[in-house]
Amino acid sequence: MTDQYQSKLVIPEAPFRPGDKPDYSFMSLPSPNESIKPDCMADPAEMKDLAYGMVRVLDDDQHAQGAWDPQLSIEKLQAALEYMVKTRIYDDRMFRMQRQGKLSFYIKCLGEEAIAVGQAMALQFGDMLFSTYRQQGLLFVRDRGLVDMMCSCLSNSKDNQKGRQLPTLYSWKEGNYFSVSGNLATQFSQAVGWAMASAYKGEDHIASAWVGEGSSAEADVYHALLFSAAYRAPVLLNVVNNQWAISTPQNMASGGTTFAARGLGFNLPSIRVDGNDLLAVYAVTEWAAKRARSGGGPTFIELFTYRAEAHSSSDDPNAYRAKDEWQSWPLGDPVERLKIHLIERQQWSEEQQEELEANLTKKISQAWKEAESFGTLEDGPHWPLESMFDDVFKDIPPHLRRQRRKLEM
């Protein structure tokens, strides 16, 4: 054996691991009043602070404060709360169905509901969404049918993806929601191309793409930054920093600064926002969308949040992270925060919340029964077996026809 090397490498470490008591007091959280709100067409050089600070609207008491308050109507705020609660109850139900063996796999977005909901609400229906597996709230805001979503997860006879994808990797062309890939980050630069096409055709639609902070390490993300910067493509590039990429902490991909800071090197407006604050998420997205639609090009947004659940149904986070991290998370629970905000304004009550939850639970249970009637993964019915050979190409070439005949024999 050779002599021991004295390694000079520096290894990024998680703030807490199993056995530690999480304490996030080291995190400096600016108050909502600290962030400036520039004109949406301002020069990126004038707003560098936004990449290192954090745009917030709801303060620690859940009152709306500061320049970024989007001044949403009560109806909109109540709708946002409903979408978030719906997302949460849907996730909960589907996760339990996975545990009962009805689904092969599932991914929840617990704790991150404000991101997809707030952003979808601030975008227009014609804007194209390039989502990951963790923005299911986008679909609820666009009113995708519950049964359709469940059928997709069940890979049954009514699955619009014809039984070909894992649960949570949805596709919904009608709703301008791009087919989610299992290969991380690929959508990020594709969204830029979509946006370039929109600008080339002289249209007003913009694209919005999401990627996890862990996946932001993939080269696709740099391609997206540079192509969008070079051509000033109308696109929102969102990095969801939920602190964990399976077992790997966010600082493995951050380089020791914020993710938002990465956009500065490409001369992009780069904003870090409290991802658990629906109002702040909405406001930043609205700002960036307006900029993109006005010819100002891309905005790079870091949504700062916490992945409250396991990575997926195949994962057990107790093996790599401390208990109670989420309970200690200083930016709280997005659903609770918006609820308290509305209650404080006397526009909501605990009774209304309970009623909402009960109604949605009932709706989701009914939808599940209906979805199951179209088949389950294990027992079918599925799409007809021969459909397996469809869509590899537009038309089925001879060699696949031969294989199809063989399979049917």
Partner: protein
């Protein structure tokens, strides 16, 4: 001897090579603190430290490029790609760089990198957790490509791979990580305990790269396969009552053509099986080689049993997976000629 799963055998191979050679280190997504999503590197970071079992950013091209640089600078990196389906971002680094470095530098530079990647389906993983891309890599000059089918071979071959000075793509059939899989998802899963190849020495040993193994001698037809399909084929042979000779190729490149020719001189018939898609798959290469070497003593056309030429379909996994029935039918068809 101990009973080991394939995961434990791989872990043991890594442990032993790290123990013996300070230049061996592991890197990959979630391999360090967590010990890998399939637990293949479990306990290694605790034992060898964070500097030798490196968690990496999620960037496969970065992982392989870094491994090449480390290899050039004297280390023996073992890079894990979390699923073979996610090896493609690293394709350029593997094909244009890792595979050809020795050649383009006139032998000056080389990088002794082992790339480990779980492959294959049968786990309800859909199209991005099920692929078998071995044929893509055997087509690249300069890579050795290995796929063991059991714990004993996995350990011996992984140690050989890490010690080898050439780049190795080491595919691990994940359906067999915890037990042999015979192709019937409704049968109760079995562990490696009780399987002869689940008995694994705890100590150092190697299995030479480039040697096939006869799993079951026979006289009527030679069945060539590797990885998970070895067990499916074995069960199919048993069920059919056909006296087939089953060969586990273990190393796909360089191929042990001598073992194949020897077998075919006896059986004169051949079935080639893989889970990967058919067109331009590794089976096509095998059949071409056999045709060149054995044409004059073949008595029937060589038959291929493979996955269909479609992405791995989530709902139709078991229609896609080449199961026992299709193998039996193929063997029968060669015997009927």
């Amino acid at each position: 001897m101990a009973t080991m799963s394939m995961v434990q055998a791989i872990n043991s191979a890594l442990d032993i090579t790290m123990e013996r050679d300070q230049n061996v280190l592991c890197l990959g997504e979630d391999v360090g603190y967590f010990g890998g999503v399939f637990r293949c590197t479990a306990g290694l970071q605790e034992k060898y430290g964070q500097h030798r079992v490196l968690d990496t950013p999620i960037a496969e091209a970065g992982i392989i490029a870094a491994a090449i640089g480390m290899g050039v600078n004297g280390l023996r990196p073992v890079a894990e790609i979390q699923f073979a389906d996610y090896i493609y971002p690293a394709f350029d680094q593997i094909v244009s760089e890792l595979a050809r470095l020795r050649y383009r530098s006139g032998g000056e530079f080389f990088a002794p990198v082992t790339v480990r990647a779980p492959c294959g389906g049968g786990i309800r993983g859909g199209q991005t957790h099920s692929q078998s891309p071995e044929g893509i890599f055997t087509h690249v000059c300069g890579l050795k490509v290995i796929m063991p089918s059991n714990p004993y071979d996995a350990k011996g071959l992984l140690i050989s791979s890490i010690e080898d000075d050439d780049p190795i793509i080491f595919f691990e059939p994940k359906r067999c990580y915890n037990g042999p899989f015979y192709g019937d998802p409704h049968q109760q899963a079995v562990s490696w305990a009780g399987h002869p190849k689940g008995e694994v020495p705890e100590v150092y040993y190697t299995i030479p790269i480039g040697e096939a193994a006869i799993v079951r001698p026979g006289s009527e037809v030679t069945v060539l396969t590797y990885g998970t399909m070895v067990h499916v084929a074995e069960a199919a042979i048993e069920k059919s009552g056909i006296d087939a000779e089953l060969i586990d190729l273990r190393t796909l490149l360089p191929l042990d053509i001598d073992a194949i020719v020897e077998s075919l001189q006896k059986t004169h018939r051949c079935v080639v099986i893989h889970e990967a898609t058919r067109t331009s798959g590794y089976g096509a290469e095998l059949i071409a080689d056999i045709q060149e070497e054995c044409f004059w003593f073949l008595e029937a056309p060589i038959v291929r049993v493979t996955g269909w030429d479609t992405p791995y379909p989530h709902a139709f996994e078991w229609h896609y997976f080449p199961g026992q029935e299709r193998i039996i039918e193929a063997m029968k068809s060669t015997l009927e000629t």
